[in-house]
Amino acid sequence: MEKEQYQQLEQNVTPKPPYLKNVAKAFFVGGLICAIGQAVSLFYIIFFNFTEATAGNPTVATMVFFAMLLTGLGLYKRIGQFAGAGSAVPVTGFGNAVISAAIEHRSEGLVLGVGGNLFKLAGSVVLFGVVSAFFVALIKYILVTIGVVSW
């Protein structure tokens, strides 16, 4: 059998991802995580001195804390299998990526294992976050300097 012919066969046999179902699950779980985040943020606004503008930081930290518990107990991967991007895209997914790598590489020690592999999965997010922020700010700075837009 020729390669092309086989690739045709493979296309026919391999099931397509259930797009609609996956999207619905991602929407529901992702939305739920954000609604929980909203509740956490309301908690910080009411009981601590945080405003809507500043509550984001403690909220995110708290969500990452939840992610640590769920990751350590082995529950986050199950949520992930069900929800896909619904649990990967919220900051809890970022936390899961960092924390799961940390737990996994504990066996190689705290310095070489945890330290060296902490950002194994999430490093790309930090990289592209920083680099894109740099370029976006740079472009905006240039545009402001030549007077096209204002800050």
Binding site: G30, G72, G95, V125, S132, V136, K140
Partner: protein
Amino acid sequence: MVMTFVFAFIVGGIICVIGQLLMDVGNLTPAHTLSTLVILGAILDGMGLYEPLIDFAGAGATVPITSFGNSLTHGAMAEAEKHGLVGVLTGMFEVTSSGISAAIVFGFIGALIFKPKGNID
């Protein structure tokens, strides 16, 4: 206040749906998907659109990873406004989300107390 929850749910859900489509239709790995969304957040902030989204949806916009790109860009732009070109570089982590620091700290703690387990359910 109730509507804030509804909007947080819907906007957060929609951002996750974009991620799911990138994965399923675009055939991207999770790392590629998240990187794309972070860049998207940075660009939206550059156009001045992300802050209104946060005002509208609250945690629906601050909890998804897009807000990470937003806060980095926000810091860089705020410093650039004050200190010019140098600020672009120095301002980056000025306002940055606590996501990174929390992830590092909790990652460390998690590594100390948990062990990986290969269970399925």
